[in-house]
Symmetry: C2
Subunit: 333 residues, 2 copies
Amino acid sequence: MKKLINDPENVVRDALQGVALAHPDLATVHIDPHYVVRSDAPVQGKVALVSGGGSGHEPMHGGFVGMGMLDAACPGEVFTSPTPDQMEAATKAVDGGAGVIHIVKNYTGDVMNFEMAAELCRAEGIEVESVLVDDDVAVQDSLYTAGRRGVGVTVLMEKIAGAAAEQGRPLADVAGIARKVNEVGRSMGMALTSCTVPAAGKPTFDLGDDEMEIGIGIHGEPGRERMALTPVHDIVEKMAGAVADDLPFSSGDRVLAFVNGMGGTPLIELYIVFNELVGFLKGRGIEVSRNLIGSYITSLEMQGCSISLVKLDDELTQLWDAPVKTPGLRWGI
Amino acid sequence: MKKLINDPENVVRDALQGVALAHPDLATVHIDPHYVVRSDAPVQGKVALVSGGGSGHEPMHGGFVGMGMLDAACPGEVFTSPTPDQMEAATKAVDGGAGVIHIVKNYTGDVMNFEMAAELCRAEGIEVESVLVDDDVAVQDSLYTAGRRGVGVTVLMEKIAGAAAEQGRPLADVAGIARKVNEVGRSMGMALTSCTVPAAGKPTFDLGDDEMEIGIGIHGEPGRERMALTPVHDIVEKMAGAVADDLPFSSGDRVLAFVNGMGGTPLIELYIVFNELVGFLKGRGIEVSRNLIGSYITSLEMQGCSISLVKLDDELTQLWDAPVKTPGLRWGI
C-alpha cells in the first residue's frame, strides 16, 4: 500500500487537522466527535444543510462546507458511515432556528444513522428534513445499498440547495429544491483501477491490466459489467447513454454536465471525457449549458470517472450560478 | 496503459477541445498552432503574461488563463516543449501594447523555443521580457535541464505576477515581481508511482512496491534518492527541510505554502501532508499565512506530491489575495 499517511488508523483525524489549519476562515473542525461546520455557524434564520458519509471521497463533504453550500459535514472513517452522535452534534451546531436539512446518500448505514440523529434532534425541538440522493443508474441494489446508490448528484444537490438556503428560503422550499435535483439528476461511474482502504492495506478489488469496470460504485462496489478497455469515445457513449436513457433526457433539454474524477485520474483525461460527452449529448439534441469538471466525489486513489447530468430549468440554473465559497468549490465571491 | 483517451496521438487536441467547450467565457482555444488565450484578449494597455510547456501538467498552464493570471498558454505535446510558432502566435494574440512577459520553466527546450519566439516578436515591435522559473532544490542539472528545474513555484508566480499585471503596472514592474517570486520561492517533489506518457505506452520509470523517489521531477526525472516508503511525517521533514534550508527561510518568516498533488494523489493525503508541513514549519518559527492545496502542476497520473514555499511580504500577500478567475484557480470574483 503506497500512501502519504502516518498510521492508517489516524488518516481521517490527520486530514481533518490539515483542513482546520488550511481553512480557518471558511470552516471549523471539531474532533471527537468529528464534524466540520461553517466558521460563522449557526447562521440565524437560515435553513442549515448537513451532510456526511464515509471519508475517502474528498473534497466531498467537508470541502463543501461554507457560504452557499453546506453548513456542516460529518466524516466517518474511510468508506464507513459516520455515527448518529456526530450527526446530532453537527445538526445542533448549525441550527439557526429555521430548520435543518440532512442530505443523505442512499447507503444503508448512512440512512439508518441519519434517521436516528434526526429523531434525536427532533426530540430536542429542532425541525429536521431528510433528503435522499439515489442517482446512480448502474444497478438496482448493491453492496451497502437497497435501491440505487447516491453518487455524483450529491455534489450538485449540495451546491444548488445550499444556494436556496442562502437566499433565505424556508425549510420546505429548500428541501423541495434538493429533492427536485435528485429527481432530474442521474449518474454513472467507471473504474480503470481499484483503490485501497488504508485499514485494509490491499486493493478492494482486482482488475486485469486491460480491463475496466462500468457502473462501479464509489466504494468499489461491483457495477454493470467488467470488460476490455476501449477508447473513451465508447466508454462515454455507454455511460452517458445509460444516464440519458434513464431520466429520460430529451431533445431540447439543457443540462448541467458533471465529469468527475475518481481521485487518481488526471485532469487532462477528464477534459477528453467532457469533449466526448458534449458530442454525444449534441447528437441527442441535449445542450450542456453548465458544467463542472474535476475530482469532487472521489474514491481514494481510484482511476476512473463518473458522469452526472442534471436537467436544468431557470431556477436551478440561477441557483447553480449563485456565489459559493468553500474549500472545494468557489465562485462569484 | 490504462487511460481515458482515444488515439494517444490526439490526447492534447482532444483535451483542448474539451477546454474550449467547457470554458468559453474564460478562454478561447486555438488549434494549429495550439494556444489558449483569455476570451477578452488582447486587453489594451495591460501587460500580458504568456506561459507554456509540455502538456500532462494540467491544470497548468491552460487552466490558468483568465482574469488575474495568464493571458495565454502554449501547450506542447505531452512532456514536450511547445514550438516557437505557438509562442509567437500566442504573444501576438495577447499583446495589448504594454509588453508581454514570457514565464519560462527552466527546461532546455522551453528556454530555447521561448527565446526564439521572443526574438521573432521583438522583430515585429512587441516588447517581450522573459522570466525564468528554477525553484526545484532537488538537483542541480537534470534530464532536460541545465541548472535547476522549474516546478511548483511556476503556479504561484503566474498568480502573483498576473495580479500585478491586472492592476495595470508597467512591464518592468510586473517582470520584477515575477522574478522576486522565483527568488523567494523553493520547491521539492516526490513520487510513489511513475506515470505513463501516452505515446510511450509504458511507465517512465519503475519503482518497487515499497519504494518512493524523493526529489522527482515533473516528467519523472530522477531525484535525490530512492528509498523505502516511510510515514508521511518523515517524508515532509525531508522535503520541507531541504526547501527551507535552501533559501534559507528563517524564524519569523511568513510563507505561502503550496502542497501539490502529482495527478494521481487523493486530496485526503494532501491535507495530511499539509498538516505535517505546518507542524514542521512551526518548529522552525515559520508561519504559514497563505496556502494552496490540490493538484495544480501534475505529472499525468503520477502519485506523489510536491511542497513549495514562497516567502511573503505585504506586497506579495496582497497580490496573492487579489481576485482571479480561471478554470483552475478562482476566488474573489
